[in-house]
């Protein structure tokens, strides 16, 4: 082999090593996260972690029940999705099918601004502006409620939902839309009976990734949901403070001694969070790939 070839081979191996960096990172992430999390179960039974309805980490003996946190995350996310999905899909349809090109070229960057705003700024806005509004409107003791969190998270999930749905809708082949119009259907009939169904896989992926974004969001919910670790009722729980998995980790990690049960419990909560978003991601990518158009 000539020197040139050896060099090529060497570079190729180096590039391969860098190529695998994402896999290595994900692998290490799993190891470190789970290792610290599992240590909790040397002292504390898994069954209690999964089924106990209380999270009292500083009581003696401490109680590390996942349920209030998990349900807290779920109620806030559910609330967020309930309004951001219809809103996001509607905006995506408008941008890709109705607005004239000049207007969509303004609308797209405007929605991208939402994606760029740091979560702590959303949290700050929610805390200072939205929470008082919620409190006054609903006449409840505090504006820091699951609902406030849902509204902020919904807004934050919008850019994900809009941009991926918009992609899916505009990748529906023009020929199919023309086929429908040529049969004498109106533009709207074409949109909701042909275009949107054809883009459904992409739209569902968008919704799932939106859910993933909302469930994993930390700073915003921590600043606006009031953080009380009780199992929320539904729908009454929307109007009371809740505490999510993410907020628990961020709030309590600063005050726990490294290596304590509480420390490991937070890693266990983190592991649950990670597994949840991992599953959502896998599903989203599967759905997205499944019905690609090849016309």
């Amino acid at each position: 082999m000539s020197g040139k070839n050896i060099r090529e081979k060497g570079i190729q191996s180096l590039l391969f090593l860098s190529g695998t960096v994402a896999v290595v990172a994900l692998f290490l992430l799993c190891i470190f996260l789970f290792r610290e999390g599992i240590l909790l179960f040397e002292d504390y039974p898994v069954s209690s972690f999964l089924t106990n309805t209380k999270w009292f980490p500083t009581a003696s003996p401490p109680i590390f029940g996942l349920l209030p946190l998990l349900l807290g995350s779920l109620i806030v996310t559910a609330g967020a999705i309930m309004f951001s999905v219809p809103l996001g899909i509607a905006a995506a349809i408008y941008i890709s099918e109705l607005a004239n090109p000049r207007i969509s070229s303004i609308l797209k960057p405007v929605t991208e601004i939402l994606a760029g705003i740091p979560s702590v700024v959303f949290g700050f806005f929610g805390l200072v502006i939205l929470a008082p509004v919620v409190q006054r409107t609903l006449e409840i003791p505090t504006g820091q409620t699951a609902l406030t969190g849902s509204i902020m998270l919904g807004i934050m999930a919008l850019p994900t939902i809009i941009s991926i749905s918009e992609d899916a809708i505009s990748s529906v082949p023009r020929s199919i839309k023309e086929g429908s119009l040529a049969l004498g259907s109106t533009k709207w009939q074409t949109i909701y009976r042909v275009t949107v169904p054809a883009a459904l896989s992409g739209i569902s992926a968008a919704v799932m990734l939106g859910i993933g974004r909302a469930i994993g969001e930390t700073m915003t919910v921590m600043m606006v949901t009031g953080n009380s670790a009780v199992i929320p009722g539904f729908p009454s729980g929307l109007f009371a403070p809740v505490r999510t998995m993410t907020a628990t980790i961020a709030l309590e990690m600063g005050e726990v001694p490294q290596g304590s049960d509480h420390f490991h419990a937070l890693f266990a909560v983190g592991s649950v969070l990670f597994i949840t978003t991992f599953i959502i991601n896998i599903l989203a990518n599967y759905v997205k790939r499944r019905y690609r158009f090849n016309l």
């Binding site: 004239n100 020929s175 023309e178 086929g179 119009l181 040529a182 004498g184 042909v194 054809a198």
Partner: protein, 256 residues
């Protein structure tokens, strides 16, 4: 130019001009298209034949930079006036496209799509679908799997499905925009047979880049060049004794 047709006139076009932005794509086209016959538009690519075809059901409206002047009448009714409902027009003037474009749904739903949209009664739809698929010469091949996805069909079957889908809306005119350009010879001949069958009940206009196809199936032929209608007449006349030099050059394969 012939205008006394045995079955009467279906489409009357007078002084039609069309621009894409600054580009003047069709110049002063006037033509009468006969009822219940097959009329073919031929010409080299870029001659405006497809553009013209899409004027007949106003599909060009979808292109924002596109502007038309002149009159087009279908069965005596002008279609470029303000009060015309484009949606209603397209119901009357169906279109089959270059590449088969079935919707990503089942075979049945593809054919049922039009009737459902136009408010056909639920219990009538089965019958409409069956009739349309029979008329589209596809029934025998798909009657046992109406609920399987349309995208599983072969290219030729997909195109016949698209024809059946158009028939289900019961149009008066069917426009074919190079319907066989993406198909193999066997599928092509099936579609040609089908078109000959359909002309008994419908007025057919077909754009084709294949002169043999025009000669085989059409009764009348129009030759387009660079946005002008050069010559229009009975197909035998166009192919055997063209009046214009340009037509003869094209027919004999000197350009195009």
């Amino acid at each position: 130019m012939p205008d006394n047709f045995a079955n009467g006139t279906e489409i009357e076009v007078t002084n039609l001009n069309l621009w894409y932005g600054e580009n003047h794509a069709l110049h002063d086209i006037s033509i009468n298209i006969p009822k219940n016959s097959v009329t073919a538009f031929i010409g080299p690519s870029g001659c405006g034949k497809s553009t013209f075809l899409r004027c007949l059901n106003r599909m060009n409206d979808l292109i924002t930079s596109c502007r038309t002047e002149g009159n087009v009448g279908i069965n005596g009714q002008a279609i470029y006036t303000k009060d015309v409902d484009v949606v209603d027009l397209r119901k009357r003037v169906g279109m089959v496209f270059q590449k088969p474009n079935p919707f990503p749904m089942s075979i049945y739903d593809n054919v049922a799509y039009g009737p459902r949209i136009h408010g056909a009664k639920k219990n009538a739809i089965d019958g409409i679908v069956e009739d349309a698929l029979k008329a589209g010469a596809l029934w025998g091949e798909v009657s046992d799997r109406l609920n399987s996805p349309a995208l599983d069909l072969s290219g030729g079957q997909q195109q016949r499905l698209c024809i059946a889908r158009t028939l289900a809306v019961k149009p008066e005119v069917i426009l074919f925009d190079e319907p066989c350009s993406a198909l193999d010879p066997i599928s092509t001949s099936k579609i040609e047979d089908l078109i000959l069958e359909l002309k008994k009940n419908y007025t057919i206009v077909i754009v084709t880049h294949n002169m043999q196809q025009a000669a085989r199936i059409s009764d009348y032929t129009a030759f387009f060049l660079l946005g002008d209608l050069i010559e229009f007449g009975k197909t035998e006349q166009i192919f055997e004794s063209p009046k214009e030099k340009a037509t003869e050059d094209y027919i004999t394969g000197r350009f195009g």
